[in-house]
């Protein structure tokens, strides 16, 4: 059976001591009738509102930066509607330019979102007991925040799998609404300010990524991983064309982490 895991908002994994969690978890699903009701959707939606407000801030930042990176408001909104993944959307903006590095953007998106594989897998106790259509529809809306809330419900023995969909829809609503506000705001700033570098907006990406990075800090074990990522990225930046240094740095950090943790 899958070990219960929990992700923090920033997408990092905390492994629980399995002896404590797996037993009540197993017992809760001995009598395993899982439902998928409208009440479950509402319950998930409203319980997720506080987390949605946090996502709202990120969406505002995404909307503002998307316009600065050269997307139109429609394109920014489309990205939030169909991709719906904060970290990878922000990273895509960093790569955005007049000559779109399409392959690098798609690869980076994929690699950044690999953690979803584990998150989806961890929801198995609910998702294998409802119809595949409902499961795979719910998974479209799964985010770090709604997942964390849903897995808590599932492990505590709740039986309504629609909670995952409801909490995901809540995040979807806040993410798209804030993208709209941010991009509209940014559009007008662009219109009336001939040189946005006066505001330091060109520095905004770096500031956002530094802030996000500090949220990932989980202790000293991170130091060698990040050092390796920085070194490899720097070397690749000098040696290779385009933005490949991002993928190489990320892989180097991941491999370093894997070698040290196993």
């Amino acid at each position: 059976m899958l070990k219960a895991e929990q992700f923090t908002i920033s997408g990092d994994i905390i492994l629980h001591k399995p002896d404590k969690l797996s037993v009540p978890n197993k017992m809760a699903f001995q009598n395993n009738h899982v439902t998928f009701s409208r009440r479950g959707i509402m319950d998930g939606f409203f319980k997720c509102v506080p987390l949605g407000l946090g996502v709202f801030a990120y969406g505002l930042v995404f909307g503002i930066l998307a316009i600065q990176a050269g997307l139109s408001p429609v394109q920014a909104q489309l990205m939030s509607l169909v991709v719906f993944a904060g970290a990878s959307q922000l990273m895509a903006l960093e790569l955005w330019g007049p000559h779109l590095p399409v392959l690098t953007i798609i690869l980076t998106t994929f690699v950044v979102n690999l953690r979803h594989l584990l998150m989806g897998a961890a929801m198995r106790d609910w998702l294998v007991r409802i119809s595949p259509g409902k499961s795979y529809f719910s998974l479209y809306f799964m985010t770090d925040e709604s997942w964390a809330l849903s897995v808590k419900e599932m492990v505590s023995g709740k039986k309504d799998a629609a909670f995952l969909l409801g909490s995901g829809l809540c995040i979807y609503f806040f993410w798209n609404f804030s993208t709209f506000l941010g991009s509209t705001m940014s559009f007008w700033i662009d219109r009336y300010l001939s040189d946005p570098s006066v505001l330091g907006l060109d520095f905004a990406f770096t500031a956002v990524f530094i802030a996000l990075l500090t949220f990932f800090w989980k202790g000293k074990s991170q130091v060698p991983v990040w050092m390796m990522a920085a070194m490899v990225a720097w070397i690749a930046f000098i040696l290779l064309p385009g933005k490949w240094y991002i993928i190489f740095g990320g892989l180097a950090g991941g491999i370093t982490g894997a070698c040290r943790n196993a």
Partner: protein, 104 residues
């Protein structure tokens, strides 16, 4: 913007969506067959933050003293407040003050 460029933008966005949904749906699909090893989990866990490092470091290497100091300020505010907006605003304020008044 020329037409083929905006077509490329739409293709990119939809491919991003496809790649993202693949990761969201793939976990449930795989889970009954393979159980990821602790080593692979650690790899996945360390990748997102390493990508951030890989974006930030080469970006800052090419910049001047204003950007480096503003980066430190933005990082400190993020650590102290754990608030993205505050950290962004203080980074922007710092970089525009430093650029215009200190390191001209």
């Amino acid at each position: 913007m020329p037409d083929n460029q905006s077509l490329l933008v739409f293709i990119t966005i939809f491919c991003m969506a496809g790649a993202t949904y693949f990761t969201r749906a793939g976990g449930l699909f795989i889970v009954s067959r393979i159980n990821p090893s602790p080593r692979f989990r650690a790899f996945l866990a360390h990748m997102p933050s390493s990508i951030l490092v890989a974006i930030i470091v080469p970006n800052l290497m090419g910049e001047g003293a204003s950007e480096l100091m503003a980066a430190i300020i933005a990082g400190l505010v993020a650590v102290l407040t754990r608030n993205l907006i505050l950290s962004l605003l203080s980074g922007l304020l710092a970089v525009s003050l430093l650029r215009n008044f200190v390191f001209i």
